[in-house]
Symmetry: C2
Subunit: 365 residues, 2 copies
Amino acid sequence: MTAIQSELDLSDMARGAVFLGAGGGGDPYVGELFVRGQFDRGHIPKIIDVDALADEAFVVSIAGVGAPTVLVENLISERALLELARRTETFHNRKIDALISIEMGGVNSMFPLGLGARLGVPVIDADGMGRAFPHLQMTSFSVYGKRSSPLLLLDDLGSLITIDVQDDRQAEELVRLNTVALGAMLNGAFYPMSGADVKRTAVRGTITQTLQIGRCIRQARLASVDPVASLVETLNCAGDGRQARQLFSGKIADVTHETRDGWHWGRVSVVDTNRDILTVDIQNEYIVARRDGRTVTVVPDIIAILDRESAEPLTGEMLRYGQRVAVLGYAAPDIMRRPEGLAVFGPRKFGLEEDFLGVEALVPS
Amino acid sequence: MTAIQSELDLSDMARGAVFLGAGGGGDPYVGELFVRGQFDRGHIPKIIDVDALADEAFVVSIAGVGAPTVLVENLISERALLELARRTETFHNRKIDALISIEMGGVNSMFPLGLGARLGVPVIDADGMGRAFPHLQMTSFSVYGKRSSPLLLLDDLGSLITIDVQDDRQAEELVRLNTVALGAMLNGAFYPMSGADVKRTAVRGTITQTLQIGRCIRQARLASVDPVASLVETLNCAGDGRQARQLFSGKIADVTHETRDGWHWGRVSVVDTNRDILTVDIQNEYIVARRDGRTVTVVPDIIAILDRESAEPLTGEMLRYGQRVAVLGYAAPDIMRRPEGLAVFGPRKFGLEEDFLGVEALVPS
């Protein structure tokens, strides 16, 4: 079982969450600050394994919603999160037994840790994506039959909206609409479910993984070995069969950003000394990497862009012209690669004209 | 106390509701059919005076929301209304003691009568406007301190959205947004309040008034007297101090209709034999009547357009080129004419560049 024993562990986790976040999920520092504040006051997050959960436990996902570029400008309000937890318990007429992250990404993986610590409620070592994704319905929870609603949205002024619809795509649309109307940044309580549901639908072990990834990068730096190579080796040797590849190394030659319809769109081009080019398309997250036009990693597999020297993972907003970066491809967990999942968050759902192929097939070792 | 004793009473009420509806509120026949269906099965609406209500009674407004042009195409679903009532009681954890209309208009004045009859719950002889208006916050309830939320929206598929915000203008915006997203026509439960709140904030006696107006027109036709003149006389002699004026009589020379942002906009021009012109501007309801450019009646006072011969009141959608019509101005109830009310539904709130003046001042007798 993973335990957080120091603030160093929190920094490692935040770093690992940015890696898994695949470019999305917002500035991790905002999330880290929130958990650190709880930690300093003696509220230590308690992380439990999926199997430690009672089948009849009541579990909910608490997350911030809105464009990451908005999130960056808003510090997390403890008061608003506590009020959301209180309203969630009133609405469902159940005490919350455990929290689960909807996604692993810079901020939303940290929310439940901080709130759980403050409430004295454990956080489950799992999430609904094993990464970050831009849409509410793009979760293993939804793919395997759990609805995101009834869900609650609460803003800092105490405005509350609840939504209860059958279809998670419609829920996503309504959440987006109401978020924009209420001021572009809210907290929400999604995917109310039982412990048995979590066991059946969640992507397991992902908090532990953020800690391992973040720690691996930090320790490689201290040991003066190449942290990028070290991370790739660690991921390949984890024993879960998931493959990682270093796709490219070079300098950012061009990066475009656009915030449209509340989402972050863009493309980054990286050039190496041979004049080869790797491009990464962004739809909140990095969705496809192409080397000289040929796809080398595509959703739901994870694309990570790291600072070349320190292996610090970079979100889409952090990318700048001239940065020296390494680009990695990393296989998604098996539960996220099945046909029923690809029908919801595969390449075609992002407007790409290709079927999914795993990074290990696209880039043989 | 007003009682409905026959289907004739229902027709009279529907006719009177179109008159008070000031051109808005949708096709009354849809509402009449719904109540008639209940009546035929022995579910007789029970109408009670405001003063008969217990101070601690739980009262709510059930209404259809969406553009009237959409409403016309959707028959009222009894099943959906019953489900809304059930969900409302669950949400508020209170049994509904009485229903009240949010507005007097073709359809929304009939909803509570039919639903109340079906549920065995009385309907209060009052409403929140004494007429119809296009926006949720344009009620005496809101002006005198009762919020429209927490409110529920339910569609025919069972999708439920609840909204709880402090400001009724924001509630209006959110209701509109979610109504469009869910399919343009929903039922809602608004303005949860106590009997004491109703006594303090409601426009009283308005169901009785719809019956009186509808009956007056019918009886004048039977007696072969001019039903328009008869109605004006009846309104002026009601003893409540509210004045009515016949503003114009002529033929519709032009009528424009446009459905924009879910609302009905338009203008109708009426010409008489002297070539004088009266125009009426429409924003769902008739908002201002001008004779040769000079204002003769303006919101919140009521403008009614009647068939010249039968005095049948016409909604905005019923107006056609060549129709012979009479146009009436009728003073709003005192509770709707005070400065705090005019700040919410006076002329400037409809984009008009004039202050309110009552019809009795604009058109001295």
